[in-house]
């Protein structure tokens, strides 16, 4: 039989590790939504003295690469300090899984986001972050680097798909270097909106396709 995934991905897909919820979690987060296709929830318990992740669990509504990435990041993060865990990237997870198909990058990046958000949630609840700062263009670009280009498996900033980005009075305009009828235009648009719209001071996000 032939599969579109590596043996490690398939192993984690069939037998995902650390599945479930932690009822009295110190930090928790859900990334994605059914409308983007996939959803991941991450729960962490933190050792308050060592600032290490003493326990971690995840839940996934998603495809094989989403489930496998969720599983592998729980293994990678367990026992790590919060700072170490924050550094776990999609690339780290993908390499640990023996590689993922390019077109699946956007499904798997969610689990990594979920872990970072769960840590952030812990830090916010424990007064470890300062108060809300206004969103900068730099922050928007940072978020755009989390939107995957399904053509390459790399993010849309690195693959030069972002032609222009403007932020004014809480309104964001993003211009993407693809024709509007491109196979992935709708999917990329949805993902950009999903990554930027939750920012507290962003009112609306417009995505335009020009090529």
């Amino acid at each position: 039989m032939k599969f579109p995934y590596s043996d490690i991905v398939l192993e984690h897909f069939r037998h995902p590790r650390n599945v479930g919820q932690i009822k009295d979690a110190d930090g928790k987060a859900t990334e994605g939504s059914p409308s983007c296709g996939d959803m991941v929830s991450v729960y962490i318990k933190v050792d308050p003295d060592q600032k290490t992740i003493s326990d971690i669990k995840f839940e996934s509504y998603g495809c094989a690469s989403n489930i496998a990435t969720g599983s592998i990041i729980t293994e990678l993060a367990k026992g790590k300090t919060l700072d170490e865990a924050k550094k776990i990237s999609w690339k780290t997870a993908s390499e640990a899984l023996g590689g993922l198909p390019k077109i699946k990058a956007h499904c798997s990046v969610l689990a990594v986001e979920g872990l970072r958000s769960a840590i952030q949630n812990y830090e916010e609840r424990h007064g470890l972050v300062r108060e809300k700062k206004p969103t900068t263009e730099e922050e928007i670009h940072k978020r755009l680097r989390k939107v995957m280009n399904p053509l390459s498996g790399l993010d849309i900033e690195r693959t030069n798909l972002v032609k222009d980005m403007q932020l004014k009075d809480g309104i964001v305009h993003v211009v993407i270097d693809l024709p509007p009828e491109h196979q992935f235009s709708n999917s990329i648009k949805e993902e950009i909106k999903e990554k930027i719209e939750p920012l507290w001071d962003i009112k609306e996000v417009f995505v335009e396709f020009i090529a």
């Binding site: 599969f3 296709g37 959803m39 929830s41 839940e59 509504y61 489930i67 699946k104 992935f184 709708n186």
Partner: protein
């Protein structure tokens, strides 16, 4: 580990019937000349005669005359010829308005979009929660400038069968041409152009255990159609290109081999899988109408889980099915059909299509139900959705 393969994706492609291959063989090894050569040598005459005979068989199966049926490379080309050919022929004479539905298959939908870019106006009719086009909406959408209405006979994903008889009559009242994509109903649900007011019908061989790469288009006599692919004068100067006589022979044989008994057998499988899945697995929804649907199609959403995960697990157990999930699609978008019947992304993501064919058995149907129950249960355990 050997896993027995069970194929429930017969609307995507079917296993060729050996008898079809036997019918094609002579045209590869003995009668390989093309009909275009009929005035050069006797093999050409043989080829011409064979093609005429095969054309006649296909035309007859639709109640049509031979000169009303052209062979194409499949349903994609047939629907392209129908939409673009009529559009080119009538844009100056009559108008530039076309009507279709939101849930058509891509050959029709994307031909319509391409025409829109060329300046045509296209109305995409919405469908109800079962996938039916509303006849009053169709009446309202028709104008004196409407040149063509293209509504499928049955849907490729959810199987809903449209009331093409009444649709055809409504088009006729307003003198609009009517095209129907019958890719999935051909030979399974009777369609006779002597009874049905239809001007163009798309059919294909790949759905009925015939070869891939051959299909056809019925074009009612007198229908204005402009040739837009340039080449020779084949297929009544509508579709140029070397005649695919082996393909046509396979197609004709495939049509001959479909029986109403077989179709009835597929329908029994369809009904069994729908009834069992809906009663035995909680939180399931049927997509498409329960009765007015393709005899070979079942489509069920398993809520709170994602379809590609289901198909991959099923694949590991030996079953081939398909899903309307965005993760599975080439464009990373949810099925436009499930969204079109008012479903949300979640309903599309968890949708699984089962399509039955000649080589499936009832015991295979019973086997997959149990396997699916276990898979869905496991995936729901790890899903954050559907919990209290």
């Amino acid at each position: 580990m050997f896993v027995k393969r069970i194929y429930f994706d017969n609307s995507a492609a079917t296993r060729l019937d050996e008898r079809v291959l036997d019918a094609m063989k002579p045209y590869f090894f003995e009668k390989y000349a093309v009909a275009t050569s009929e005035f050069a040598y006797s093999e050409g005459i043989d080829a011409r005669e064979a093609l005429d005979e095969l054309r006649s068989a296909l035309a007859t199966s639709l109640g049509a005359n031979s000169e009303e049926f052209i062979f194409t490379s499949g349903n994609t080309e047939s629907s392209n010829i129908a939409l673009k050919g009529v559009a080119l022929a009538l844009s100056k004479k009559k108008g530039t308005h076309i009507i279709t539905s939101e849930i058509e298959d891509f050959p029709v939908l994307h031909s319509a979009r391409a025409l829109e870019k060329q300046g045509f106006q296209v109305t995409y009719l919405k469908v109800d929660s079962d996938g039916f086009v509303d006849l009053d909406q169709l009446r309202d959408a028709l104008t004196d400038k409407t040149i063509l209405v293209s509504i499928q006979h049955a849907n490729q994903e959810i199987g809903t069968v449209q009331d093409i008889h009444n649709i055809g009559h409504i088009c006729k009242e307003r003198s609009a041409l009517f095209h129907t994509d019958a890719t999935h109903t051909f030979t399974r649900i009777p369609l006779d152009v002597r009874q049905l007011p239809v001007d163009l019908v798309t059919v294909s061989s790949h759905t009925i255990h015939g070869p891939k790469g051959i299909g056809g288009l019925y074009i009612r006599k007198g229908t204005p159609i402009t040739k837009w692919m340039d080449g020779g004068f084949q297929e009544f100067d509508i579709r140029p290109g070397l005649e695919n006589i082996p393909g046509a022979a396979g197609f004709a044989k495939a049509v001959e081999l479909v029986t109403s008994d077989e179709t009835q057998r597929l329908q029994t499988m369809r009904d069994r899988i729908i009834d069992r899945l809906l009663t035995e697995i909680p939180n399931t929804t049927l997509n498409g109408h329960r009765l007015k649907r393709l005899p070979q199609n079942a489509n069920i959403t398993f809520h709170f889980v994602e379809g590609e995960s289901i198909t991959l697990h099923l694949d590991m157990h030996g079953y081939a099915v398909s899903t309307g999930s965005a993760c599975f699609s080439r464009s990373l978008e949810s099925s436009h059909v499930i969204m079109g019947i008012g479903g949300d992304h979640e309903r599309a993501h968890g949708s699984i299509r089962f399509t039955f064919g000649r080589y499936n058995t009832m015991s295979e149907v019973d086997d997959i139900v149990g396997t699916l129950g276990d898979i869905v249960k496991e995936l729901r355990k790890i899903s954050p959705l559907g919990k209290e």
